[in-house]
């Protein structure tokens, strides 16, 4: 047997394992990790001294906008943004137009993403047809098409009967329902977090209770049905406490938090800049602290971006009619790393291992850095600071809330299925 020379070797990288960080060389060939050790050589050598090398990141919450809103983002531009953010897989949210509520639309997204080939795009599907909260989607057929996460994200499933049935029905299949917790009746016209700031600005508020009421209801439905459930973008101190108790009770629930809910507060809306309008809204420092505590003690399982591009004309409107949402893929590592005081190992757990498991794609993402594994890898600096500029981002839209801010942590290289798709902070296509 002839031992061929590896195609690509990262030398002297700080390799992130669940057990700790080990400095090593990592060799890749034909899409597979072929060597982890010292003194490795290959056709192409990249000096990774001082950089962390981990499994590629997995985003549980990406809005790619295609089909339907290609002026805001496409699968191609969104994939590029994801790769630049160190992501080798993103879960595409189903609130496209048409919605990802049938196999045809899900297939379209999968195939388009394969053509682009910068990361894996894993479509999620709606819980109810058209996200209208009335009729369940064909869970089994969609499961067969590869869908593992079902969500009406953008809307919460309001009707408790529908949610109960969905949980009961999903229990028979290997899928997870993901809830956007928002009692719509309590957030009508809401622009921002309900608090002093919203009172001063004279806009309708989005009260914490609207999230917590639905979260509480659904935790109890999980207790009743035994079906697993994932909670999207939790934003309040009360929500963290509810999930903490549910987990203590042994319920099969998981939870994510976004980088922006860890870093930004409602006071940023003071200038009525629509870029800071997001759903759920930016909250207070007390909420941020509680979310960080939840991240630290394991109540929160994952950091998910809720990357939500909007084209400029959509945001150049009064704040009450502006669509909520902000970019997140390219800044997630930096913002999370800047906001959180956690180890690199915990960071990778939040950005890669746990989300891969929740998304049901742990057979190919969030894998150990070991010989024989699929080469889905991110190489990044946890110390490099950089100034975010909306004009320098790969996303088709410019609605980043971090424009002009300095964050710490940047992805240098991304390897997807063995291909170097991001080289020295630049996407190869």
């Amino acid at each position: 047997m002839t031992k061929s020379i590896p195609e690509l070797v990262f030398q002297n990288a700080s390799v992130v394992h669940p057990t700790g960080i080990v400095v090593a060389d990592v060799a890749i060939s034909k899409g597979i990790i072929v060597g982890v050790g010292t003194g490795l050589t290959g056709a192409r050598l990249i000096d990774a001294t001082g950089l962390h090398l981990s499994s590629g990141f997995v985003d549980l919450h990406t809005h790619l906008r295609e089909p339907g809103k290609e002026e805001a983002e496409t699968i191609q531009t969104g994939s590029r943004a994801a790769a630049l953010g160190g992501y080798t897989a993103v879960i595409a949210m189903p609130n496209t137009d048409p919605s990802q509520d049938c196999v045809a639309v899900v297939r379209f997204v999968q195939e388009k993403a394969k053509e682009v080939g910068l990361c894996e795009v894993v479509p999620s599907a709606c819980i109810t047809v058209g996200r209208r909260g009335e009729q369940l989607v064909p869970f089994a057929a969609l499961h067969e098409a590869g869908v593992r996460i079902f969500t009406d994200d953008g809307n919460g499933v309001q009707d408790p009967l529908i949610m109960r049935r969905a949980l009961e029905y999903s229990r028979d299949l290997d899928i997870v329902l993901a809830q956007h917790c928002e009692v719509a009746r309590l957030t009508q016209g809401a622009v921002m977090h309900e608090g002093e700031c919203c009172s001063s600005l004279g806009v309708p508020g989005w009260p914490a209770i609207a999230e917590e009421l639905m979260l509480h209801r659904d935790i109890e439905l999980v207790r009743l049905t035994g079906a697993p459930m994932h909670f999207l973008h939790l934003s309040t101190a009360g929500s963290v406490e509810l999930v903490r108790r549910a987990k203590a009770d042994g319920l099969p629930v998981t939870a994510e938090v976004t980088p922006h809910h860890l870093a930004l507060t409602d006071e940023l809306l003071g200038g009525f800049d629509t870029v800071f309008k997001v759903n759920p809204p930016l909250r207070t420092w007390a909420d941020i602290q509680a979310l960080k505590d939840g991240v630290a003690d394991g109540t929160i399982d994952a950091i998910a971006t809720d990357h939500a591009p909007h084209a400029a004309p959509a945001k150049d409107v009064p704040i009450d009619v502006a669509p909520p949402g902000m970019l997140g893929l390219e800044t997630a590592l930096g913002v999370a790393n800047t906001a959180l005081d956690v180890s690199e190992v915990r960071l990778v757990e939040l950005l890669s291992w746990n989300p891969a498991r929740i998304a049901g794609i742990q057979d190919r993402h969030g894998r150990p850095i070991a010989v024989g594994e699929v080469a889905n890898i991110a190489v990044w600096s946890s110390t490099k600071t950089w100034d975010v500029s909306r004009d320098a981002l790969a996303s088709k839209s410019k609605n980043t809330p971090y424009h002009g801010m300095t964050i710490r942590g940047k992805v240098k290289y991304t390897v997807f299925n063995g291909e170097l798709v991001v080289n020295d902070e630049r996407a190869v296509r």
């Binding site: 608090g195 009525f272 004309p313 704040i319």
Partner: protein
């Protein structure tokens, strides 16, 4: 000062200077020819995305009395529900060499957003529930001149009564009146007091009867009929019983106390008395005073020329 967007941006000195200048403007309004050439060649555009004839006329009269050219852009609310055209509208009007926009919009924050899209001065003529700074300045002018203390409201207590939650007038007045030293008491049902208003420099009460006999000014807010539909109050009748200004409550007011209302009144709901029968009523005076106060604002923004002087190095 380039823009007037929020009463919260004004310092005590700004407020005093504007009110003093309004005295000056009030004198102009008493002349046989109530017009001065101060803003000749300046163009003021009223951009009213929400209809308000009285505020628009007040601003346009003020601009004309300073010899500014005025234009009006009014848009039906229906075509703006989607809001797409806001930026285009402003950029198009700006291209006509406008010196100031007077902006009214049903959405909070629009005047502030507009400053990003134009070099002209922007004056907030009322945005959503947010701010209506010229109304608050007018009210402060009316109150200080009524009490003969042009620069202070120290020792005065002003009750702002009713639907504070949806009131830009209340938010602006709280800022201006407290900066002049007044004590402000918000009076209304908890459903109509903004969340966490306790953090504001005000006192909050839920009974008009508790304060009506003690305050120097009873400032009534407009109560809209549709508030019933979203359960803010059980019925307008109950609202009026608790918070309406009735003849009985007027009879218990201090002798010198004033009654004010930003208009339009909702007769029989917020105002049960006929203001013409109330000696302390300053409701028409508020309308009259709107013109000199708005003249003072326009002149301060367009005529004081502070920044231009630096740019041209003029030394005369």
């Amino acid at each position: 000062m380039k823009h007037l967007l929020s009463a919260q941006d004004l310092t005590q000195n700004d407020i005093i200077a504007l009110l003093d200048m309004a005295d000056h403007m009030a004198e102009i309004n008493t002349r046989p020819v109530p017009k001065v050439p101060a803003l000749r060649g300046k163009t003021v555009v009223s951009v009213f995305f929400e209809d308000s004839t009285r505020t628009r006329l007040s601003f346009e009269t003020a601009a004309k009395r300073l010899s500014a050219d005025t234009m009006t852009f009014s848009a039906s609310t229906s075509s703006l529900n989607k809001g797409e055209s806001l930026r285009d509208t402003i950029e198009t009007l700006s291209a006509m060499r406008v010196d100031a926009f007077v902006v009214r919009h049903k959405s909070s924050g629009v005047p502030l957003q507009i400053t990003e899209w134009t070099d002209a001065s922007v004056i907030n003529a009322g945005d959503g529930w947010h701010q209506h700074p010229t109304q608050a300045l007018t009210d402060a002018f009316t109150i200080t001149r009524s009490f003969g203390t042009p620069h202070t409201l120290e020792g005065r207590t002003i009750a702002i009564v009713g639907d504070v939650l949806h009131s830009r007038v209340a938010r602006s007045n709280i800022a201006v009146l407290t900066k002049l030293g007044a004590k402000v008491v918000l009076v209304g049902p908890s459903t109509l007091i903004p969340i966490q208003a306790q953090q504001w420099p005000v006192e909050i009460l839920h009974s008009l009867d508790e304060v009506v006999a003690e305050v120097d000014v009873v400032y009534m807010l407009r109560m809209q009929r549709e508030r019933m539909e979203t359960a803010f109050v059980p019925s307008l009748g109950e609202y009026t019983a608790r918070f309406g200004l009735t003849p009985d409550r007027v009879s218990r007011m201090l002798a010198h106390a004033l009654v004010m209302h930003p208009g339009p009144m909702n007769r029989g709901i917020d105002m049960v008395v006929d203001p013409a029968q109330v000696s302390g009523s300053r409701i028409l005076q508020q309308v009259t005073n709107g013109i000199p106060v708005r003249m003072a604002v326009l002149f301060t923004l367009l005529g004081s020329g502070g920044s231009t002087a630096l740019a041209t190095g003029a030394d005369l």
